[in-house]
């Protein structure tokens, strides 16, 4: 049986200072500090980070990676998320979530965190200047920044099976979760393409995230007990403004990974050349292009998606939807998957309510028709960028007719509150209760201050064990961090 698909999204944002002379690192730092100003700034604990560890059994940390810079601006929020500066970008890493709808909720909460940070930063800048943040993945000039997804996998499944099974889905899911882009950054003459990231994916499998980016990333850093779990780090996705697109991106991928673990993927959908297929599919908004299958013949992205969906329905009937969060969210994802494939294959104007690239393309086409502009004119590129602008008074996506799926009240609460379903609950609750005592955090632990200058690292290496159900009673019985360390240490997950 598939293990629970604990999941989350890390979003690197584009940033610009309007009316102020600030470089991207300074602007990013100012943004995060503006938000953290009212909070205790929680450092990041790099002790358990192994970005150079490769699932294929080697480690490049010693010779290929620059030293990590722990002095960079970092904060961990009471909702369990990390909000920090990653090189020249602000980044929000959502807390661990139990299902795709939770990811939508805490991803949207991240947008609200950024909006709040922009507003606070503006009050510290000269009148007429502000920081502007874009939830997109490219500057249109060959520089890309990522929106990475993470999924919990059973360590017992061979990684080669994960790669073989996930690749056809990862290559073709862009038809409903691509964010759309004017032009190409890879030398193609395409006027509009489906995905922001497709120009930057160059390998099928690999460890890199900044050069020669792969479809399937091999970083072996589970942030959990490595004898039980892997973390699949997906780096080829676009950041989505459409909540439905985020729901589908994470929900369908979680289902496909659970199907791999249950041995339920359809046969014969492997692609002959996945990297070329990504670009062919991205460059064809008519969705009629076909790509070559490994066993011969050709298939369109929509038809390949339909085949995976049919198999997913059979898998759900046989194995249930508990691994992806239960019947409610699982059925919601399957139905939305069905609906989006139907509208993309038929009346695309319906898909404009749910799919970013369709919504964006419609307003660019209509705007250009109205003003007599070329589809790759600076005016079209301006709409492309401003679609992702997170300022409430300037962003175009909220005005594009997209249908919301997350409960707005839940999003508002998620700005400060963690998911109740994962260890993020304990992390966020401890930071809220003892903000000054949390010296540093990582996904699988936190270092807290005790009496008399002593410190202790609390280990949280089971992503689900410290959910509300497990933690609430313990927290209620703790008056101090001494109590916390004693209680959490006494009740290690393996003892349950």
């Amino acid at each position: 049986m598939a293990v629970p698909k604990v999941c989350g999204i890390e979003t690197e944002f584009g940033i610009a200072a309007r009316g102020a002379d600030l470089g991207p690192m300074a602007a990013s730092s100012m943004l995060v500090l503006a938000y953290a100003g009212g909070l205790e700034q929680v450092g990041w604990d790099f002790a358990s980070e192994r970005p150079g560890a490769d699932v294929r059994g080697f480690d490049v940390s010693d010779h290929a990676y620059a030293p990590i810079e722990p002095h960079l601006v970092n904060t961990v929020l009471t909702n369990g998320a990390r909000f920090y500066v990653d090189h020249a970008h602000p980044e929000y890493s959502s807390p661990e979530c139990r299902d795709a709808m939770e990811v939508v909720t805490w991803d949207r909460a991240g947008e609200e965190v950024v909006r709040s940070a922009m507003s606070r930063a503006a009050s510290a800048l000269p009148v007429g200047s502000e920081l502007v943040v874009y939830k997109n993945n490219t500057d249109g000039k060959g520089n890309s920044y990522g929106c990475h997804e993470n999924y919990l996998l059973d360590r017992g499944i061979p990684f080669a099976s994960v790669v073989r099974g996930a690749t056809p889905h990862l290559v073709t899911r862009q038809v409903f979760c691509g964010a759309g882009k004017v032009g190409s950054e890879a030398g193609s003459s395409v006027e509009f393409q489906i995905s922001q990231r497709s120009d930057f994916i160059e390998e099928e499998v690999g460890l890199e995230t900044t050069i020669r980016r792969p479809i399937v990333n091999t970083r072996d850093e589970p942030h959990a007990d490595p004898t039980l779990w892997r973390r699949l780090h997906v780096i080829l996705g676009d950041a989505n403004m459409s909540e439905t697109a985020t729901l589908l991106k994470v929900g369908t991928t979680a289902i496909v990974l659970a199907m791999i673990e249950d041995g339920a993927l359809p046969d014969g959908v492997e692609l002959e050349d996945p990297v070329t297929a990504i670009r062919i599919i991205s460059a064809d908004p008519t969705l009629t292009a076909t790509v070559r299958l490994a066993r011969g013949g050709r298939i369109s992205a929509l038809d390949l998606q339909r085949r995976i969906l049919v198999a997913a329905r059979s898998w759900a009937a046989r194995y249930g939807l508990e691994s992806v969060g239960g019947d409610g969210v699982g059925t919601c994802v399957l139905d939305a998957w069905d609906a989006v494939l139907e509208s993309l294959g038929g009346d695309q104007s319906l898909a404009a309510r749910t799919v970013d690239w369709v919504a964006k393309r419609r307003i660019i086409d209509a705007h250009c028709a109205r003003h007599g502009h070329h589809p790759t004119s600076p005016s079209a590129r301006a709409i492309d960028l401003q679609y992702h602008d997170l300022r409430p008074d300037r962003g175009l996506a909220p005005r594009a007719g997209l249908l919301p799926v997350a409960d707005p009240g839940a999003v508002a609460r998620a700005v400060a509150s963690p998911p109740r379903s994962t260890r993020a609950f304990l992390r966020g609750s401890v930071i809220a209760r003892w903000p000054a005592a949390v010296l540093s955090c990582n996904w699988d632990g936190m270092v807290v201050a005790l009496d008399g200058d002593r410190t202790e690292r609390i280990v949280l290496d089971d992503p689900l064990a410290w959910n509300e159900e497990c933690s609430a009673g313990i927290l209620a019985g703790c008056a101090t961090t001494e109590d916390l360390v004693r209680s959490v240490g006494a009740r290690r997950p393996g003892d349950r």
Partner: protein
């Protein structure tokens, strides 16, 4: 599969209590699209075209 994970799954309630399927989708009417274009014309930055030319980021990740 490890025993532990099975136990975890049984006690993993979702934080989003109820998830309802979305209502049927209808496309925007022409009048709605026109209104949307008017609004886009209004909120597009006056210097948007110049700004997008100068928008350069460092690669990330």
């Amino acid at each position: 599969m490890p025993e532990r994970s099975r136990a975890v799954r049984a006690q993993a309630p979702s934080s989003t209590d109820t998830v309802e399927s979305a209502p049927p989708v209808r496309p925007l009417h022409d009048a709605e699209l026109d209104a949307l274009l008017d609004e886009i014309d209004a909120v597009l930055e006056p210097d948007a075209e110049e700004f997008v030319r100068g928008y350069v980021q460092k690669g990330g990740e």
